[in-house]
Amino acid sequence: MNSVVQTAQQGGKADKRPALPFVLAAPAVFALLVFLVLPVAVLIGESLTGPGGALEPYVKFLSSGYNQRVIWRTLQIAGATTLLALALGLIVASALARIGGTLGQILLFLCVFPLLTSALVRSFAWMVILGRQGLVNTGLQGIGLIDAPLSLLFNPTAMVIGLVYLFTPLAILTLKGAIEAIAPQVREAATTLGATPIRLFTQVTLPLLVPSLIVSAVLIFTGSLAAFATARLLGSERHMILPTLLHEKVMVSFDWAAGSVIAAVMLVLSFAAITLFNALGRRANRMVD
C-alpha cells in the first residue's frame, strides 16, 4: 500500500482511501478475468494435453504441410495487408493533416465511415466489385481491355484487397492524429536548418511517426490474422487461413482439440507480432540518425 501512496499523482492527492481506485476498477477486472482470461487459459491448457506429451498436438499440427501452408498464407496476407494499409493510410493521413476546414472534415468522415460499418458488409461490397459481373470486370470489358471476365474473387488477392479496405481507415485515424501531434515548429525548425521537403519527411516526420506506425501495424496485423468474415467471403476453402481453419475445425469437423491448437497458435502469432513490431520500433528509433 505504501508504494501506492508514494506514487499518488499530480495535483496533490495523498488520498485518504488508497483502496478506492482498486474498488472502482474491480468489476471490470473481474469481468475480464472470468470471461476472457479464464476461457483463454482453459483453452490453452486443454490444447497442451496430447497422449504423447503436452506439446504433441502442436508437433502434429505444425508438421502437416497443409497447416504450414495455412500459417504461411495467413502471415503473408497479414503482412501484405499491413504494409499496404500503412502506405495508403500514410498518404491520406499526411494529406488530411494539411487540409483544413469543411473539406477536411468531410474527407475525414468519408475515410472513417467504413470503420462504422461491419466487416461483413464491407467484404460483401467487394464481392459485388470483384465478381464476374462486378464493377471491375464490366469496366475492363467495357473499355475492351479483356473479353472474358477475370476470376478476381475467392483468392488471396481478393482477401488482401478486402483487408486493406478494412484496415486503411484505422491507419488513417491513428496516423493523422500522430502527424498533427508533431508541433509545426519542429518541422519549421528543421526547414530553417536546411532540410529539404524530402529530408524533412524522412528525417523528421517519419521517425516521429514510428510509434504510431507500430501501433497501427500491430492492430492491422493482428486484425488481419483474425479476419474471419473477410476470409470466408472473399477467400475460399482452397485458401484457408487460420481463422477459417479454426472455424472449420470447431464448427464443421467438430474437432475441438485441433481448434484449441489453432487458437493457441493464433494467440502466439499475435503476441509474437506485437513483440516483433515493438522491437522493430525500438530499432527504427535507434537507427533514425
Partner: protein
C-alpha cells in the same frame, strides 16, 4: 555580417491582412528587437523572413539579395523558437548537429562542432540526453546552439524566453547578449516585454497592428515615445490631455486635470496647443500643485509605495516614498520623467 532590408512587406492569413506595408532596415551586425502586443504581427514578420509563409507584397533583401526567391531551407537563417522546437527523436548533440548534416558535413566533424557549441551555451555533458530530459532553460540553450552552429547570416528569436521563469530569463538574456557581442551576427529578436527588448537590443521596432510605429534606440523610445501607443508600451502609465497656457523662457504652463501646472521647460518637448501629457508613475508624487487627488488604494512596492488615485475624475498612478498619503493630497510632477504627445486624433 549581413544587413537586412524589409520594404513594403504585407501578408495576410486568409482574407485578414496582418502585415501592412512594413519597412525595417537592419544594419549588418546589429541586434534589433520587434516589440509589440500579442497579435501585432511579430511572429508573422519572422516567418516571412524565414520563408515559412508567403508575402502578399514587398521585398526582403539580405545584403541586397532578394530573399523571397530563396526556398526556406536555403536561406541560412538561425531561428530560435519560443517552445524550443527541438527534434524530439534526436539527442542534444544530434539536434545541434542537424543543420550541419543538412549541409553535408561528415559525422565526426559535425559532432565535434556541435559539441563545441554546446560548450558555448554551457551544456557540456548534456550531449547524450534526449530533449525531454532537459529543463526549459536547457532546451532553450540547445535551441540557441543549434541555430548558431550553422553560422547563419541572420539570427532570429521568437520570444525565446517567455516560457522560462523570471530568474532563468535573466540568465538567458545575458547569454544571448554576450553571444551577440562575441559573434556579431545580425539578429532580430521578438518580444512583448519592453524591459527585455531594451536590455538586449541596439534598436527596437515597436509594432502595432502590422506596422512599425516607432523604430529607434531604446534610450530614445524610453524618453521620447512618438505616439500614445508607444508611450503606453514603454511605461508612461499616466496619459491625460492638457491645454497649453503659455510657453516662455524657462517656463511652461499648462492646464490639466482640473488645475494648472508650471514646469521648467525642456526644448526637446514638442508641446502643441492641445495634446497629451504622458508621465511615468515615478514622475508623479504628492506635492503642492493645484491639482487635487482622491486616493483610492495604496500598495507597497519595496522601495516606496504606489497609490491609485483620481484627479478630476481621471485615474492616476503615482509613487511615494512614504506609506501615508497627505491629508489633502495634491499632485506633484517631476519634469524629467514626462513627455508630450500629439492629441489622440493625430496619433495613429
Amino acid at each position: 555580417m549581413k544587413s537586412l532590408q524589409i520594404s513594403g512587406l504585407s501578408a495576410s492569413y486568409g482574407g485578414q491582412q496582418v502585415l501592412r506595408d512594413l519597412n525595417l532596415d537592419i544594419p549588418a551586425g546589429s541586434f534589433v528587437s520587434l516589440l509589440g502586443p500579442s497579435g501585432c504581427g511579430k511572429t508573422t514578420t519572422l516567418r516571412l523572413v524565414a520563408g515559412l509563409m508567403e508575402a502578399s507584397a514587398g521585398r526582403i533583401d539580405l545584403d541586397g539579395r532578394n530573399l523571397l526567391r530563396v526556398p526556406s531551407h536555403r536561406r541560412n537563417i538561425g531561428l530560435v523558437f519560443q517552445n524550443y522546437a527541438l527534434l524530439p527523436h534526436l539527442n542534444v548533440v544530434e539536434n545541434v548537429a542537424y543543420g550541419l548534416r543538412q549541409r553535408g558535413m561528415g559525422t565526426a566533424e559535425r559532432l565535434r562542432k556541435a559539441a563545441e557549441f554546446l560548450d558555448l551555451v554551457g551544456l557540456q555533458g548534456f550531449a547524450e540526453r534526449t530533449p525531454d530530459a532537459l529543463s526549459g532553460g536547457q532546451k532553450q540553450r540547445v535551441s540557441l546552439a543549434r541555430a548558431l552552429v550553422i553560422d547563419p547570416d541572420l539570427m532570429m528569436f521568437d520570444e525565446p524566453l517567455s516560457n522560462l521563469d523570471a530568474r532563468l530569463r535573466l540568465g538567458m538574456r545575458s547569454l544571448i547578449r554576450r553571444l551577440h557581442l562575441q559573434r556579431q551576427t545580425t539578429s532580430i529578436y521578438v518580444t512583448h516585454d519592453q524591459e527585455e527588448a531594451f536590455a538586449i537590443s541596439d534598436r527596437v521596432a515597436v509594432m502595432n497592428s502590422g506596422k512599425v510605429e516607432q523604430y529607434d534606440r531604446p534610450e530614445v523610445l524610453y524618453a521620447r515615445p512618438a505616439s500614445r501607443f508607444v508611450a503606453n508600451f514603454v511605461g508612461f502609465e499616466n496619459i491625460f490631455p492638457y491645454h497649453l497656457i503659455s510657453r516662455a523662457e524657462g517656463g511652461l504652463t499648462i492646464s490639466t486635470l482640473g488645475g494648472t501646472l508650471t514646469l521648467p521647460d525642456d526644448p526637446t518637448w514638442e508641446v502643441l496647443p492641445t495634446g497629451l501629457l504622458a508621465a511615468r508613475p515615478e514622475a508623479l508624487s504628492f506635492g503642492d500643485s493645484s491639482i487635487a487627488l482622491d486616493v483610492t488604494l495604496r500598495t507597497y512596492l519595496g522601495r516606496g509605495y504606489a497609490f491609485e488615485a483620481t484627479a478630476h475624475g481621471t485615474p492616476i498612478l503615482l509613487h511615494s516614498e512614504h506609506a501615508d498619503a497627505p491629508a489633502t493630497p495634491r499632485l506633484s510632477i517631476d519634469p524629467r520623467q514626462i513627455t508630450f504627445l500629439p492629441p489622440d486624433q493625430l496619433s495613429v
